[in-house]
């Protein structure tokens, strides 16, 4: 059971269909238990995941976002992950300039064989986010509607 008052972060994971999604499947097949805080949204490829989705995740109240796909060279579509990598190289700089906490945004390569890595990454991010507490800074921005 939950300890009472323990903060349960909300984590949105954008993952590719061919590597990380299958890696998470493998974690399941191997019954590797990890915190239930992550919500996976499946994409064909990390190349499909654009930066607006990260913003949208925070608008939706996420405390952390994970983007994960195939290791370099493993992309099902050969290059989608390279496009993604270049996108995040630049996007992180923008977020950093805006003062958005980069510790809330995680990028990993997790292959279909790395069920254990998936479980570890999710556990790690959940723990880290729990330590940091809710991402109130962006929630305030998102909440302060008209």
């Amino acid at each position: 059971m939950n300890e009472t008052n323990r903060f349960e972060p909300r984590i949105i994971a954008y993952v590719c269909n061919w590597c990380t999604y299958l890696g998470a499947d493998l974690a399941g097949t191997n019954r590797l238990e990890y915190p239930a805080n992550v919500r996976i949204i499946r994409f064909p490829c990390t190349g499909r995941i654009d930066f607006n989705l990260i913003v949208k995740a925070f608008e939706a109240g996420a405390d952390a976002v994970l983007v994960s796909g195939c290791h370099p060279g493993d992309c099902h579509y050969t290059a989608g992950n390279y496009h993604a990598r270049r996108r995040w190289m630049l996007f992180r700089q923008l977020l950093d300039t805006l003062g958005i906490d980069l510790n809330r945004i995680h990028f990993t390569w997790i292959s279909a064989a790395e069920g254990r890595k998936w479980a570890q990454v999710v556990t790690g991010i959940t723990e880290q986010t729990r330590q940091m507490g809710p991402y109130t800074a962006y929630r305030e921005i998102a909440r302060a509607s008209a």
């Binding site: 499947d25 399941g28 949204i41 064909p44 654009d50 949208k56 099902h76 579509y77 989608g80 496009h83």
Partner: protein, 668 residues
């Protein structure tokens, strides 16, 4: 209004143990748009599927969510079930509450909450699914093979033997490629020409093969199933139909001292020539740069006079021919690294220290092949080029260029270990008392009977192997002074040799990049063509319908090239075996109204599936420029969607609306 059916699966105890199925079923029933919510022990079982089919019909469902296992497990199953019941299969989504939930979260409350979120997202997604139908692409059952070496020959014959027409394009005047010039082949030491020439003849005579020699691919249009290839037939100055190949012309030609390409510059040919006696087609060609008549426009004409078939045509010109094909096989092979200096790449600085091009008796491996070949310029006697003496001591250096980052090529050329062993054997067999010294980095002899072969060269034939590199070759008193290291002995080695043979690196053939760009095939930093997947799609490329085989893909030996050629032919035949091509409809499309034609998607698409296009009125008047997805090529990765600033690109099955509604559904 959406009428969504949600079917939650117990998966026996697998889901039910940690997820409160009843609570899930009840809560889901209250979700907006959900028409029915039921659960069952095994949704994938026949009775489970029967319930789904019944509900689709009785509730007139417009979408289906199956909350059970991974879509990788059963999405196809449930799509098929939906289709049977008359619901478009692309209106089915799965919520993975087993692998991603019950199997990994054992706190019942948390697992149930997460399962609800996963289902909620899937409900939102399925509401915005579109009915899709597989894309049908017409198919021309005709193949084009580019490159007439052993790989191209094998691929062409396999396809032709299966009853389909093949056009085979070869740049040189004859097919046969590099293998036709080899002496004997490892590890069996059988004669290369003895095994290859019958296959060449077969190609020449095959009713299904149309042979274009002395020809190159000019341009490629179209896409999988429907390529239109323009071929440039270079002017041969000999009428292929009239010519009988009698040889009167080349026997009469007075221009003799032209370096023979086939003999790798070790011998000579006439200005009108066939590259080698067994050439297919056995028709000569005039070297327009060497022929007096063609150079001056007048004079000589001896061949014309001698030709009784009246086949010589000095007025011949290049011709463009268009071929239709459903599939293209690229088998353009390799060339050797020019150690004197590569012109095409500033990084490849050459091997001046080995004196190639400076010392006549430093030759490369293919030149050595011609020296030991019975059909070669010396008739198979090993005579060194400088003075024709039989070398008593030959040094073989491996990895010249290969595995040498400093010289720009990091990869292993793979076949050199084997052919160098073969070279030492052939040399030792032909030169009693001769010494064969080999400098090597490693001996890589993986393959059937390969290591045994190398051991034989060392142990039976007495080739001396030194593990180390050669630093410099200089010439003293007619001897080549080879200075190197024997790292196993830990000592420098100096050998006075009569000849040095360099096992230089394999590089992709000249012009392959231009060809790759015409075909939209990728290539790596060394210029070798890229396969679609290194393990699972080794002969496919990212351009659908274009296959690769042989050394254009990576260095490989004959058996590998042949095996890959047959694989490429097999893949082509699998395609040709279909009625028509159908492709997954979950692909990208462009909203032409809002597209600003910046063409970032065109540059980013890994499949070059997006084209620059024009929107026209029904009467053909230009409205605007736009990007357009070629349905025959798009693989549905969605890279264009993320790159498109105005979000005019959209990916079926993963539309912006779907993804956003999924994220937003988590806000509650």
């Amino acid at each position: 209004m959406a009428r969504i059916g949600v079917f939650t699966c117990w998966c026996g105890e697998n889901v039910a143990r940690h997820v409160d199925i009843e609570k899930v079923t009840e809560t889901v029933a209250q979700m907006p748009g959900v028409r029915c919510s039921i659960n069952y022990k095994y949704m994938c079982s026949d009775p489970g599927q029967a319930q789904i089919r019944d509900k689709i019909q009785s509730e007139r469902l417009t979408g289906l969510v199956v909350a059970s296992c991974s879509p990788h497990m059963h999405l196809k199953t449930f799509r098929k079930a939906a289709q049977t019941a008359g619901l478009n299969p692309y209106l089915v989504e799965m919520a993975n509450i087993r692998e991603h939930c019950s199997w990994v979260h054992h706190n019942r409350e948390e697992a149930t909450a997460k399962a609800l979120d996963l289902i909620r997202m899937s409900v939102e997604k399925v509401k915005r699914d579109h009915e899709l139908v597989p894309i049908r692409v017409p198919l021309t059952r005709r193949a084009l093979v580019i490159g007439g070496g052993v790989a191209g020959i094998q691929a062409a014959l396999d396809i032709a033997d299966a009853g389909h027409e093949v056009a085979l394009v070869e740049r040189e005047p004859s097919i046969g490629g590099k293998m036709a010039g080899l002496s004997e082949t490892f590890p069996t030491l059988d004669c290369s020409q003895c095994i290859l020439t019958p296959r060449m003849v077969e190609v020449g005579q095959h009713p299904n093969i149309k042979l274009y020699t002395y020809s190159e691919v000019e341009s490629v249009e179209g896409y999988v199933g429907n390529f239109k290839i323009t071929i440039r037939q270079k002017a041969r100055y000999v009428d292929m139909v009239k010519c009988t190949g009698c040889g009167d012309c080349w026997n009469s030609c007075p221009i003799k001292k032209n370096l023979s390409e086939f003999d790798c510059g070790m011998g000579f040919r006439k200005a009108i020539y066939i590259p080698f006696p067994q050439a297919v087609p056995a028709r000569p060609v005039i070297d327009r740069l060497a022929c007096t008549r063609l150079k001056r426009g007048t004079g000589c004409g001896l061949c014309e006079k001698k030709c009784q078939a009246k086949a010589i045509n000095f007025a011949d010109e290049d011709k463009l021919v268009v071929e239709q094909a459903g599939a293209v096989i690229v088998a353009t092979g390799y060339k050797l690294y020019n150690i004197a200096k590569e012109q095409d790449n500033a990084q490849l600085s050459g091997y001046g220290e080995y004196g190639y091009g400076k010392y006549k008796d430093v030759i490369d491996a293919l030149q050595f092949e011609r020296l030991v070949s019975a059909s070669g310029p010396t008739g198979g006697e090993i005579k060194r080029p400088s003075d024709g003496k039989i070398p008593q001591s030959v040094v073989f250096i491996k990895c010249v260029g290969s595995r040498d980052n400093a010289k720009g090529l990091a990869y292993c050329s793979k076949i050199c270990c084997m052919y160098t062993a073969k070279h030492t054997m052939l040399y030792k067999h032909k030169t009693p008392g001769g010494e064969a010294h080999v400098f090597y980095m490693d001996i890589r002899a993986g393959g059937k009977a390969y290591d045994e072969f190398v051991r034989r060269a060392i142990e039976q034939d007495g080739a001396k192997y030194y593990r180390g590199r050669v630093s410099k070759i200089t010439e003293e008193n007619g001897k080549l002074i080879v200075r190197g290291a024997d790292t196993l002995a830990g000592a420098p080695v100096t050998i006075e040799a009569d000849m040095v043979v360099l096992a230089v690196a394999m590089r992709p053939a000249d012009g392959v990049h231009a060809l790759a760009q015409k075909l939209n095939v990728g290539y790596d930093e060394f210029g070798f063509l890229s396969e679609s997947h290194p393990k699972l799609r080794p002969v496919e490329t990212n351009a659908a319908g274009v296959f690769i085989c042989g050394a254009c893909h990576a260095p490989k030996d004959i058996p590998e090239a042949v095996a890959q050629a047959s694989a490429a032919a097999g893949k082509t035949l699998v395609m040709f075996g279909r009625e028509e091509l159908t492709r997954e409809p979950e692909i990208a499309r462009i909203n032409e109204q809002t597209c600003a034609a910046c063409y970032t998607c065109v540059r980013g698409c890994p499949y070059t599936a997006i084209e620059r296009a024009e929107t026209l009125t029904p009467k053909g008047v230009h409205v605007k420029y736009t990007a357009r997805v070629n349905e025959g090529l798009c693989m549905g990765c969605g890279t264009c969607v993320a790159l498109c600033p105005s979000k005019s690109a959209e990916l079926e099955g993963f539309t912006e609306q779907q993804i956003y509604s999924m994220v937003e559904s988590l806000m509650t």
